[in-house]
C-alpha cells in the first residue's frame, strides 16, 4: 500500500484542497468542561482546527450518515403530492477511528444489504473515509471484543505519532484523492513500518479494558444468562434516558412521524433516532407494552448486540467504542455487564 509522509502544513493543505470538491468533516473540539475535552465530528472550514489525536467523539460518524432528524418526504395535503429527496452530497470524513469504521460497516450491512434504505445509500455511496490511529481511554475495549482491526471501509488512513504523519492508501478512491490533492514525501518502507509499529505499541499499551471471556463466547454467555439477577440489579439504576443508544455507533432504530406545517396544508414525513431503552418503544395502541419494565429493555438491548445480531453477522454488533459506558449517568458499563453475567452464572 502506498504511503505518503506529510507535515501538518501539508496535511492541512490536503484537507483544504479536498474541501473545494467535497464537504469535509473531521474531529474538532466542541467544548472543554473541568478536566474533560469533548470532541465531535464537525464541518471543517479551517483545516488547522481539525484535531488529529483524540480519544473519542461524542457522536460517531453515524450522525452524518444517518442524521438524527431526517426527512423522508415532503407532501401537500390538498393534491396528495409527495416528493422524496435523496442527499447525494459528496463528503469526506476525516479522523475516523477503527471502532467507528467497523460500526459504519455494520450499519452498511443493515441499510445496504439487510433492509435497503435509499436515503442511507445515497449518502453512503458519496462518502469517503479517512481513518486515524486511535488513543484509547479507560472505557475503550475494541480489542477485547475483536473489533480493533479494520478490513475495509477506509479510503485513506492517517498514521500519526507525535509529529510524524503518514497517509496510507486503502482504496482506489483514496489513491485518487492523494494523487489529486496531496503533497508530501515518499517514506522508505522501513520508516513506514516503524511508524505503524510504534502506533500499535502505543495502542496496545493504552487499550487495557478487557471482558473476562473471548468475544466469540458472547452469544453463549447471553443464552445462559436470560434469567440472570444482573438484569434486575442493573436496571435498578437505569433511568431509561436513552443516552446509550443515542451515542452508540451501531444502534439504528428510528421513529417515524408526520410533521405538518403551521398552515396544515402539507408538511413532511420524518424519522428520528429512537431506541429500545425508551419505555414506549414496544407499546401498542391498546396500552399493552411488551417491555414495560426496565430490566426487560436493558436485557433486550444487550441481547441484540451480543446475541441476536451477533448470530446474523458472525461477530458482536458492539464495537467496543465505550461510548455508552462513558455517557451513562448511572455508570452502567458494557464490560461490567458482561463480567458480572460471567460471575453470576
Amino acid at each position: 500500500m502506498a504511503f505518503l509522509k506529510v507535515t501538518r502544513d501539508q496535511f492541512n493543505g490536503f484537507v483544504a484542497h479536498v474541501g473545494r470538491h467535497y464537504e469535509v468533516h473531521g474531529p474538532v473540539v466542541k467544548e472543554r468542561f473541568l478536566d474533560k475535552t469533548f470532541h465531535v465530528f464537525g464541518r471543517i472550514t479551517d483545516p488547522a482546527e481539525m484535531v488529529i489525536h483524540y480519544t473519542w467523539t461524542v457522536f460517531s460518524p453515524k450522525k452524518i450518515l444517518m442524521p438524527q432528524f431526517e426527512k423522508l418526504y415532503d407532501y401537500s395535503a390538498g393534491d396528495f403530492g409527495r416528493t422524496a429527496t435523496l442527499d447525494t452530497t459528496p463528503r469526506v470524513i476525516f479522523g475516523v477511528h477503527n471502532c467507528d469504521m467497523n460500526a459504519v460497516n455494520l450499519i452498511d450491512w443493515v441499510f445496504l444489504e439487510d433492509t435497503p434504505d435509499s436515503y442511507y445509500a445515497a449518502r453512503r455511496q458519496n462518502m469517503l473515509f479517512v481513518g486515524v490511529n486511535c488513543q484509547p481511554d479507560a472505557d475503550c475495549f475494541c480489542r477485547s471484543i475483536d473489533w480493533h482491526e479494520v478490513e475495509r471501509g477506509y479510503d485513506l488512513y492517517l498514521h500519526a505519532v507525535d509529529s510524524r504523519m503518514m497517509l496510507e492508501v486503502r482504496s482506489p478512491k483514496g489513491q485518487e484523492l492523494l494523487d489529486h490533492f496531496a503533497r508530501g514525501e515518499q517514506p522508505s518502507e522501513a520508516e513506514a513500518a516503524e511508524l505503524v509499529q510504534e502506533e500499535n505499541r502505543l495502542f496496545c499499551e493504552r487499550q487495557t479494558l478487557r471482558m473476562n471471556t473471548a468475544a466469540e463466547n458472547l452469544p453463549l454467555l447471553f443464552t445462559a444468562s436470560y434469567e440472570s439477577p444482573v438484569w434486575d440489579e442493573t436496571a435498578q439504576r437505569c433511568v431509561s434516558c436513552g443516552a446509550c443508544h443515542l451515542m452508540c455507533p451501531t444502534c439504528f432504530c428510528f421513529h417515524t412521524a408526520d410533521d405538518p406545517n403551521a398552515r396544515l396544508d402539507g408538511g413532511s414525513f420524518v424519522r428520528n433516532w429512537d431506541g429500545c431503552m425508551m419505555r414506549p418503544f414496544a407499546e401498542i395502541s391498546s396500552g399493552e407494552n411488551f417491555r414495560r419494565e426496565t430490566p426487560t429493555r436493558l436485557k433486550h438491548r444487550w441481547y441484540r448486540k451480543h446475541k441476536y445480531l451477533f448470530q446474523r453477522v458472525g461477530k458482536s454488533f458492539c464495537v467496543g467504542c465505550g461510548r455508552c459506558g462513558r455517557e451513562c449517568p448511572v455508570d452502567i458499563k458494557p464490560v461490567k455487564i458482561v463480567n458480572e453475567l460471567l460471575e453470576r452464572l
Partner: protein, 295 residues
Amino acid sequence: MGNVIAEQARSGTPGTDASLWQGTTEHVPVPGRIVKIAQLTPNEKYFAVRLERPAPLAYCPGQFVELWVPLVGEAPISISSPPDGTDTFEMAIRRVGNVTRALHQMHEGGTVGIRGPYGHGFPVDELKGNDLVLVAGGIGYAPLRSLLKYMLRHRSDYGRVILVYGARSPQDFLFYDELQSMVRDGQAEIQLTIDRPAAGWSGHVGVVTTLLTDLRIRVPRTYVVVCGPPIMYKFVILVLDRYRLPPERVLLSLERRMECGVGKCGHCQMNSQYVCKSGPVFAYRAIRHLPEAFM
C-alpha cells in the same frame, strides 16, 4: 445540496395527476381512495379502499398495510378482505389513537396513503386439504376474515372450516350480519361467544377458550389459526394442548408495534425477530422458545 429523484408518472385513471408520483422511495405511500365506510361496532368502522395506481394492491390474507392520514401519521392495519382480483381491499379499524381517530372522521371519497402490503401472511397453499379452526378474539377477527373468506372462495380446497369468535358483548362483533349469513349458508361452522351474559343474547357465554375444550377435530389434518389480544394466545395454546396438535400446525398472527413495516425501525422486535418481517403470522413451533412471544 441534493438531487430530487423524479419518477416518470404512470398513465392511469383519468383525472389523476402526474405530479403525485414525483420522488418515490420505499417509504413513500401511494394514494388510496376511500370508496366505502360503514359503522361496524361502536368503536370500529369498515373502510374499503381502492388503489388506483400503479395497480390494485396485491396481497395475501394475513398481511397488513401502513395507512397514512396526512397531517396526522401512519398506523399499521390488517387487511380484512380476501384477494379477489378487484381493485378494492377492506379493513376493519378501531378508533383508538390519533391516526384512527382522524380516519374515523373522514368521508367516502377521501384519500389516504397506503404502504405495503407487508409481512408474512397465512400460508394458504400449505393449508389446502386440511380442516381449519380459526380462533378469533375481539378485533383479532379482522385479519382472520381475510383468511376465512379466501377459503370460502376456494371452498373445495379446504376441509371443514370452523370459526370460533369471542367478543366482549354482542355489539362488539365485527361483520355480525355477514357472519349470520355465513351461518345460514352453512359453508363454515361458526360459533360466537360473549364474555358475560347480555340482554337479548341467547348464544354461548364465556371467553373464547371455552369453545375450544370440546372440538371434534381430526388432529393429523387440522390447522388452528389464532388472532386476538396479546393476553389471549397463551390461554388458547394451553387449551389446545389436549389435542396434541403438532406445533407447526398452530398458526398465530401476532400484534406488535409496527411503524416502518419492513423490519428496520425496530419497534416490533420480539427477541430476535421483527414481527413485521418474519411475521405477523408465525407457526407456534417457530416462536415457542422466544421468551417475549407470549406476554
